[in-house]
Amino acid sequence: MTRSPVKVLYIDDEENNLIAFKASFRRQYEIYTANSAAEGLKVLENLPIEVIIADQKMPQTTGVEFFKSITTTFPDPVRILLTGYTDISALADAINHGDIYRYITKPWNDLELHNSIKNAHDAYRSKIDLRNKIKELEKTNDELNRFIYSISHELRAPLVSVIGIVNLVKMEGLYHSSGEYWELIESCSSKLDYYIQKTLQYYKNNKNVTDKSEIDFKHLVNEIIELYAYSNKDTTFNININQAQKFIGDSFRIEVILGNLISNAIKYQKTSNKEKTVEISIEVNKFSAEILIKDNGLGILNEHLEKIFTQFFKSKNNQGSGLGLFIVKEALNKINGKISVSSDLDYGTTFKITIPNAT
């Protein structure tokens, strides 16, 4: 790999030093020299200098003063200070304010200076590389966000239209007019919709932004029930929410967690059960919200209990996506929440969740 030689700017008021420097290093580096800080600045303004070497003792502006003056305008080039005196206070000043990478005493040793320039250049490269990587990541992240947004609109909108049409077919009494075809269309579209929603939840949860807003659990739970009880109107809800304390938390993730668990509690019921019940109790205190969601539904096989939170785990009997509980677990991880589950096959399942209160 051939890389263009390192661009070095050397500022010194003594012409002899400039000449000596050039003579020693012109084969290795692309060298620019200046005999004052002002001249040096001119070079900096016009060329992408990577390493600056400045003499400390110069009339008008000293090396440290010069470095200080360019900390905001030219933060990137790596700085090396050259000085004939071991002046501790100048040195301290240089390190504290001038962002100096190396300090070299005059007269310099060619090998030492050469190594310093090489190291300085490496530091410069890694600084720039890191910045480029961050830029790249920001771009990818931005694209991902836009992708998520467009999924939520472009991909879902037509699907929702299809579901709307099926609903109309139902309302107009045509649902059974073509054998079971409408039913099949409906079940396929709602499955697809479910996957889109879960995928979105998963990606949104993956982003590290946590928002802190006040949460009214009563309101939230009612909204969720209203949303999911559509499909199943014969479930009784026993809700017991005790929130005397203000609760601050990540509203998106908490909604995802409760939404998934409550919809599961509604969904995984025995068809034969005449008294389908879902019990939701929430106790909010200063430190946390303790949430219990209990159903008298199908229950979970003991040997499955450990696996229900893993991605794409599905049991044979249930038509889940294998995503819901996985997302719940991931979301809880992000907000330092805990979950435990107990279940008796055929008698129902209980989930206990603890979410820390950020007040």
Partner: protein, 130 residues
């Protein structure tokens, strides 16, 4: 009044509105611009203005929120008898928050629209008030 760029959704939702038998007339607009123009064209004839607007969010050029910004600038007397609900398939948290925060929006309805949801909006807007 239905505002939606998607003609299929306009068709579906006007049928749903028809099924509820809650409204006498449906005005269909394929864009926010068209809806604003309708308001201005009927400035003198406020009888023709809608009582309820169902507003889509994602539309080319003037989207739902931009429509609301323009709607805000209409003279008060044109808006007196009109309520707005947003109707969208969005799952975007930002959109949902923005819709809830807008003072003109009484509710964010999710597509697909169900007669029961419309009934609920109707009850809160037009029955409780009287």
């Amino acid at each position: 009044m239905l505002i939606d760029d998607n003609t299929i959704d306009l068709k579906i939702n006007s049928k749903i509105i028809g099924i509820t038998k809650l409204f006498d007339d449906i005005i269909l607009c394929q864009s926010g611009e068209e809806a604003i123009a309708y308001f201005l064209a009927n400035e003198k004839d406020t009888e023709k203005l809608p009582h309820l607007i169902l507003l889509d969010i994602q539309m080319p050029e003037m989207d739902g929120f931009e429509f609301l910004d323009n709607y805000k600038l209409l003279p008060e007397e044109l808006k007196d008898n009109t309520r707005i609900a947003m109707l969208s398939s969005t799952l975007d948290f930002g959109d949902i928050r923005r819709a809830e925060a807008n003072p003109y929006v009484i509710k964010l309805l999710k597509k697909p629209l169900y007669p029961a949801q419309l009934q609920a909006v109707f009850t809160t807007c037009f029955i409780v008030k009287e």
